[in-house]
């Protein structure tokens, strides 16, 4: 993409653009910012902006969104069609991408204090109408990209808020744990994207865990396709069963973990296992899922996981997070153990005191020990 004023801007050295990006009026700032980004993107190095990102970021709490139209081609980002201060357009995909990015930004900002996907006010760029009959949406490390679907199996991908939340969450993962997109760590990457994609939707509707549908991609399947969504966090493997699409392949338990070369080692398939653990936790705890279950998961993603994390390591990390946030041996921590047990992951962590007096670490219950009783839904904690 290039505009005549950006051609002028790109011959300016970065230190001048940097000054313009912070000291100029908003339009100058935006143009300088785009020039720096375009130059960095041309070098394939959006990350190079790292140290300058803080200077280029907006004030905390201000979102900045741009939507582009690829006009059924595959050149990114495409033609700029809506900026942050622009009114609604006549193109429903453009408006959906714009609104969905806004809802996702607001969710992370309001609930977890996170300023955009990088935590530093990164602008949210979306391209719609990518490709022809493109049955997909993806994140490319810098922006979201949405297809229109083929109309036969899939509708346009911007119409599901959880899809938009899912894509943006891949950005959050990128700028936090950086989970490698392969095998177990890749399935965890997908899992966090599904979890927070679903929570964005639940937050927008102010739904409690028991009222939420826990579906990803509801409304994506075209009329006539036998299915309710692409995935179900609550009941993996049940979202669809159709002659054209096949059957939802997601497992709900470790015993059905799929080893495959397809799909980067089945990242969209095996994510069903941790997805069910999360939905189970949220249901046990009750109330709004983003408040406790989501908080534990956010803490885990942003402060504990490493790039090559396994399901086991993730489970253990969520247990530690629950202890740190809600106390050792808290109902939340016990519920985390319970939730992972239902999908066949036994924690390796015992009763570890995270805060407070040090106590001897007890070993995990032996296989002969009875399973802990199922916890009844807890009343939501009162807000401080």
């Amino acid at each position: 993409m290039s505009h005549s004023h950006d051609v002028f801007c790109t011959i300016l050295p970065p230190h001048m653009l940097k000054h313009m990006a912070t000291a100029g009026d908003k339009e100058t700032c935006d143009r300088a910012h785009r020039s720096l980004e375009a130059a960095a993107a041309a070098r394939g190095q959006r990350a190079i902006l790292g140290p300058m990102a803080a200077l280029l970021a907006v004030s905390p709490g201000e979102k900045r969104r741009t939507v582009y139209d690829a006009k059924n081609g595959q050149v990114l980002p495409g033609k700029l069609v809506r900026g942050e201060d622009d009114k609604k357009t006549k193109d429903v995909s453009v408006n959906e991408a714009f609104d969905g990015a806004g809802a996702t930004y607001d969710f992370y900002r309001t609930v977890y204090g996170r300023n955009s996907v990088d935590g530093n006010g990164m602008r949210l760029d979306s391209t719609v109408h990518y490709g022809r009959n493109f049955d997909n949406a993806f994140w490319n490390g810098m922006q979201m990209v949405y297809g229109d679907g083929d109309g036969r199996i899939f509708n346009r991908f911007t119409q599901s808020l959880d899809v938009i939340g899912h894509e943006l969450t891949h950005g959050v993962v990128q700028f936090s744990a950086g989970l490698v997109y392969q095998d177990e760590s890749g399935a965890l990457n997908e899992h966090f994207a599904d979890v927070f994609g679903s929570l964005v939707k639940q937050f927008s509707k102010q739904q409690t865990a028991d009222k939420a549908d826990w579906l990803i991609g509801e409304g994506l399947l075209a009329k006539g396709i036998k299915g309710i969504a692409l995935r179900s966090l609550k009941s993996p493997g049940t979202a669809y069963n159709d002659p054209l699409l096949g059957r939802d392949p997601q497992p709900a338990h470790m015993k059905n973990f799929l080893r495959t070369d397809d799909d980067n080692g089945g990242v969209h398939i095996n994510s069903g296992i941790p997805n069910k653990a999360f939905a189970t936790l949220a249901t046990i705890l009750g109330g709004f899922a983003w408040e406790r279950a989501g908080k534990i998961w956010y803490e885990t993603l942003t402060r504990r996981l490493t790039a090559n994390a396994t399901f086991q390591q993730c489970a253990d990390a969520t247990y530690e997070s629950a202890g740190a946030l809600f106390g050792a041996a808290s109902a939340e921590q016990l519920a985390v153990r319970q939730a992972w047990q239902t999908v066949g992951v036994e924690l390796t962590k015992g009763l570890v005191v995270v805060d407070g007096p040090k106590l001897p670490v007890k070993s995990a219950p032996s296989p002969a020990a009875p399973a802990p009783p199922l916890l009844r839904p807890l009343l939501p904690r009162s807000r401080n």
């Binding site: 997909n136 993806f138 490319n140 036969r152 899939f154 894509e167 993962v173 991609g217």
Partner: protein, 99 residues
């Protein structure tokens, strides 16, 4: 000429596979495919495997296998990382696989 096509990954994690035997296609369609494959070959060495960068997520991964008298060649690429020649072959094969 036979062309194998495998698309995997994507947001839905679905697999799409097809085998095209040019000799079984209507002559016009066969010529169309041969031209596109010819451009792909002329573009240079088969594309390397798409980067498994952790930054790409939900992108489709494509593998095109061409078999003819010149031997067998594999071409791999992912959404957002394809040459224009690969894009055209993938578009053609996707439309054909969907029926």
């Amino acid at each position: 000429m036979k062309v194998g096509f495998h698309r995997s990954g994507g947001f839905a994690g679905l697999s799409l596979k097809s085998e095209v035997d040019c000799s079984q296609l209507p002559p016009g369609k066969c010529k169309e495919l041969e031209q596109l494959v010819g451009l792909l070959r002329a573009a240079g060495q088969p594309a390397p495997s798409p980067s498994k960068s952790s930054y790409y997520a939900d992108a489709f991964q494509y593998e095109v296998t061409v078999q003819d008298d010149d031997g067998t060649q594999k071409y791999r690429a992912g959404d957002g990382e394809m040459s224009p020649e690969m894009e055209k072959v993938v578009d053609w094969l996707t439309a054909h696989a969907r029926g």
